[in-house]
Assembly symmetry: C2
Homo-oligomer: 217 residues x 2
């Protein structure tokens, strides 16, 4: 019985995320979610108590995606800068391909118009990136003038800006190429021995495998 309830909750969550992404929070009704999921309005209210709670659940699911993905990348037996680049490719692919991440992302962009109180993702990402840059410093891989906290902030800005611009230009279709170009600029600024090519090629492939595992759920 618990398995069936879980399947119902999941199908409602995915239907809601898809509609939030396509139509926004205000443009999505309980009736739309019922139609797309093939579940009754009663089931929606039973499991989520309404649209606001569903939006919050999509956002929570979006935020819950990252710790496991971050953990898997951090544990990999590769240099810290390569972990960082591989992680960025995994996240970019999740934003392009995962319906819950995409729906949550639009809700977050429109968060000022959603009644639910939503967490801000940036502090956590900044800590993750700063931690990886400090690890790179320990490995001697970071240029002497790089300050991990300042550089970590800048990397997070650049990465989130990439998402905004890529979404506006072509619905993120070319996000992997754009991310590649971004790292071609940023890596030489971070590395003690500027040579971004090999690391970038390996990390882009590694990110692909880890990302596939992440979105397989």
């Amino acid at each position: 019985m618990q398995g069936r309830a879980e399947a119902t909750r999941r199908s409602l969550l995915e239907a809601a995320a898809q509609l939030f992404e396509e139509r926004g929070y205000a443009g999505t009704s309980i009736s739309d979610i019922s139609t797309l999921s093939g579940r009754t309005s009663g089931a929606i209210y039973f499991h989520y108590a309404g649209k606001e709670k569903l939006a919050l659940a999509v956002m929570e699911e979006l935020f819950a995606t990252w710790p496991a993905l971050i953990g898997r990348h951090r544990e990999a037996d590769i240099p810290a800068l390569e972990k960082l680049v591989a992680l960025s490719f995994s996240v970019a692919r999740a934003f392009r391909d995962d319906v819950v991440v995409r729906g949550g992302s639009r809700l977050w962009a429109e968060r000022k118009s959603v009644d639910a109180s939503l967490p801000s993702p940036f502090e956590g990402w900044i800590e993750t990136v700063v931690g990886l840059l400090e690890e790179a410093r320990q490995e001697g891989a970071l240029g002497p003038s790089v300050v991990p906290r300042k550089a970590g902030n800048a990397v997070v800005y650049a990465f989130f800006g990439l998402h905004t611009v890529s979404d506006a230009l072509d619905g993120r279709e070319h996000i992997e190429e754009r991310l590649h170009d971004l790292w071609l600029l940023l890596l030489p600024a971070l590395q003690s021995k500027p040579r971004p090519g090999p690391l970038l090629d390996r990390a882009a492939r590694g990110g692909s495998r880890a990302g596939a595992a992440a979105t397989a759920r």
Copy 2:
């Protein structure tokens, strides 16, 4: 008579921008705009034919802010990289301080929920930044491995991400410090002789003067 009509249009535009920024498009009514501006609903419909046209006018005003600002920075008798950094400080200050830019910016972030069709700003910014980097290449100021088009894209991502993150973290209060840190990472990646400090200090001051002129209207 034309002066008075212009003053009325301007006061409606600024009141609408302030409300769009605070409450979003869906959360703002013609009645709110009438109350804040002290003008009648009839005046709003006479000048703008409704909320959708007002939103479009705020967006158009946002987009119209940049060509004059860009032109003034491009004409300055300073190196191209310094023009680019000074321009970025002017734009950051406009996003922090100018009510029409702020209101237009929120409308743009929520553009999928606004009925009016809105232009995308990124192509224009990418061309501007690529143009300045090509000028820097002519001046011999760009590192040999820097490709202006790719680096220009990356600079635009980083700059817009800075806005998103800075807005989410503290309503852009610390955007100038954050922009300073961003350039400390990016400038050495761009420069043929990495030495960001003096250029950055001059450009931040220069941006301040040009920005004040820009928002004086």
